[in-house]
């Protein structure tokens, strides 16, 4: 499900089934030599999370991304967000990012870290193949969480 009126209505009507939420965390680096890489990573993460949403539409709600400036601590925001999402009825909260520094928060959150791949240089078929491969990598993370419950 996407965070759109139509999908959110579906969510409200089927709450017990849609028990998982993905929050993409996108780091913005505006420095001269970081901005390009930052845009590429952001593009990759949003593509991938959309792809995952498409595969698991009936069980996962994809939130609009949290964007933050490089070096600004996210732990407080993430804690609050996770708490509110759980209150709203989601059982599993996945944060997905290509910012490696966030893996430090894996004690308190489920942070899925995916090193970014430059999709901009690829044609549609290759891009799709890459996304499928990446999806195959994250599926076990999801199934592990789902089978715990």
């Amino acid at each position: 499900m996407l965070f759109t009126v139509k999908d959110v209505s579906d969510f409200l009507a089927n709450k017990p089934f849609i028990d998982t939420v993905i929050v993409p965390l996108v780091q913005i680096d505006l420095s001269e030599d970081g901005i390009k890489q930052s845009s590429s990573a952001s593009d990759y993460l949003l593509n991938l999370t959309n792809f995952i949403e498409h595969q698991f539409k009936g069980r996962i709600m994809l939130m609009p991304p949290i964007t933050y400036l490089k070096g600004v601590d996210q732990s407080g925001a993430m804690l609050l967000f996770e708490q509110k999402l759980k209150e709203a009825g989601f059982k599993h909260v996945f944060f997905m990012t290509s910012d490696h520094s966030l893996t430090a928060l894996q004690q308190t959150h489920t942070v899925v870290w995916l090193p970014s791949i430059p999709l901009e240089s690829m044609d549609a078929t290759v891009k799709n193949k890459i996304l499928e491969d990446q999806l195959a990598q994250v599926i076990p993370v999801f199934s592990a969480k789902w089978s715990q419950a």
């Binding site: 089927n14 089934f17 849609i18 698991f56 539409k57 009936g58 078929t125 799709n128």
Partner: protein, 169 residues
């Protein structure tokens, strides 16, 4: 040249018929267009889109076939990649939509070891027979949709989606 002099009256006649004709055409054209529009309309979503899949290589085991088309959402144009589960039933090519009829996840062929020869939806363990028929007792309430198919130069074309025609009720 001088025998063919155009009189003032004739001149006016010609010009007025000309202008009147244009005006009439201007009024009629949209009406005619409107009447036969469906015929003239350039096709959009209803098109058959090409795939890389050779029809001769299809077997009785469903395989993923990707295809992409352009989608316009307000001002935003994007290339959407979609997928179908395609297999042969005798000589007939069957292409099923992978969109689960419960809440829309993507189903997989033999996605669950305990249920061979079935489509499986990992989201809430929805199950379907090979022809797309949903298995009672699992969440989906209807059969998987079907794509129209065509063959061109040995390659598979995927057409519009329609309700499943294989499941006999």
């Amino acid at each position: 040249m001088s025998n063919n002099r155009v009189s003032r009256r004739q001149f006016l006649n010609y010009t007025l018929t000309g202008v009147g004709g244009f005006m009439a055409a201007g009024m009629l054209m949209p009406m005619v267009r409107f009447a036969i529009d469906p015929v003239l309309q350039s096709k959009g979503a209803g098109d058959f889109v090409p795939t890389d899949q050779k029809v001769a290589e299809l077997t009785e085991t469903p395989v993923k076939v990707n295809f992409s088309f352009e989608q316009v959402d307000a001002w935003y144009k994007s290339d959407v990649t979609a997928m179908a589960w395609v297999y042969k039933e005798g000589d007939k090519v069957v292409a099923l939509s992978p969109v689960c009829k419960h809440l829309g996840c993507t189903v997989g062929w033999e996605g669950d070891k305990n249920h061979p020869d079935e489509f499986f939806c990992a989201c809430h363990a929805g199950r379907y027979h090979k022809n797309g028929e949903n298995i009672p007792g699992t969440p989906p309430l209807g059969p998987l949709d079907e794509f129209e198919v065509e063959e061109k130069d040995g390659l598979l074309l995927i057409g519009p989606v329609r309700p499943n025609t294989l499941v006999k009720k």
